[in-house]
Amino acid sequence: MKVEQISIFIENKSGRLAEVSQKLGQAGVNIRALSLADTSDFGILRLIVDKTDLAKKTLKENNFTVSKTEVVAVEVPDRPLGLHSILEILDGGGVNVEYMYAFVERCGENAVIIFRFDDPEGAIRVLVENGLTVLTGERVCRM
């Protein structure tokens, strides 16, 4: 039920982000979702791609520091208070969100949100118990 995500350390200087997208593009890797967290000195770029291992290998060969983490992709009703309803459920279930970002594409009538939890198994249980749809990695990549 979990989705693989790669994180890349990026120094805050011009051209580094373009370098990542270029290398991945040349290797035939398609980016499905992304988020960038940054400080004045450095940033952490998080990507969900169609070929995780190839992406990781390509970036490492180009001297980037890359790590692989597991995140959870959840379908969210695409209407006002849609996201809020999910956050309420997670809060009620005592689940802590480390960070989250939105998926680029829609899934039918729904939007998709990527969550990083400190306890992914517990979070998935709470979400499923409350009738929400958690997407598999395979499904995310096919979108």
Partner: protein, 445 residues
Amino acid sequence: MSELITEAMLANALIWDPEMECLGRDELNALQLVRLQDTLRRVYQNVPCYQKKFEQIGIVPEDIQSLDDLKNLPFTTKDDLRDNYPYGMFAVPMREVVRIHSSSGTTGKPTVVGYTRHDLKVWTELAARFMTAAGVTADDIVHIAFGYGLFTGAFGLHYGAERIGASVIPMSGGNTDKQIIIMQDYRSSALVCTPSYALTLVDRMEKQGIDPRSLSLRVGLFGAEPWSEEMRREIEERLGVVATDNYGLSEVMGPGVGGDCLYRTGMHISEDHFIAETIDPETGEVLPRGSVGELVLTCISKEAFPMIRYRTRDITRLDDTPCPCGRTHVRMQKTMGRSDDMLIIKGVNVFPTQIEEVLFQVEGCEPHYQLVVDRVNNSDRLEVQIEVHESIFFDEMKRQRDFVSMVEKRLASALGVSAVVKLVEPSSMPRHEGKAKRVIDKRRS
């Protein structure tokens, strides 16, 4: 204390020359004064460079009436040796010199040193002394992987080991695969090399699927380059030998000036042959015992090449508190760097090796870093740039920032001055083949 050093080993530890190594402080100081005065008379008479230096400040050897007067004598530096290249500093005619060695000369002309028959005898005794302190006995098979040649390392330990009665394998340096075969087949039990070569050997063994603990090695005598306590732990863990340090430099004698006992709380300097001082590298002032400073050594028994107040450029701390091993000779801590590398940040002396040690602790491996010093708003600013690799990269911003502030805190407490940590991508810095450019000091431009 390492788990490799047992109570039994400590209880059975031998002292090569108990009479001299455990001499009471008063007798030791009396012996030092007599030998110092004798040496000063000889160099004043026979070495024009010393005669000139003494005359410049209006001193004659007879003015030195106590060990405390030593501080009035001028220093001898590497420049003096270069100016008097090759034989100008020799205090005996060449006919009495039986051996010549030379330093590598990485920073200009090499320096040449000479030994009389008596000098070689003393050197052999002092090498036997520190090797015994490290635990080498007549039952050991001593594998010497230092290069034999102009460099003093191999010969110093070679004759010391023979003097002890150990079996010596004069392997010399290089050819790592062959070294390993010889170690396996000849059952080498004591390894002599640089600490970095010890790790090269382990790497190669691991690559070949050889368990280092299947060999007979039990003790390592590592020297000829500065190394940290972390590196000691790594060698002990991976190679399974008691890793001991020793100190020496060709200008003063070679290996055997000092060495670890099994308590390893500093290397005992053979004070019956050398007088050790620490000075402030900036002012030249003698520092009280226990302060970190540049080691200055005076030879008090050498005939061919006696150095008076030789500035070693090595930074260390001297400790004359009693050692449980029973030796009375002062101990010097592992060298913390070279005085040439010292940075003064907001008036505090900082050595790159101190920073390296902190980074080694937090990263658990050899750090890739660079120091950038600048003056911002009339105040010094030290920036430590660290290459981010996987073990210190966190996917969460909070943890990544916590890591930065944790390293900053540790640096501040180790250095006594604050440093700013900046994370950079791997391979942003030049790799250190040869001499590393670790420090960029923008204050000088």
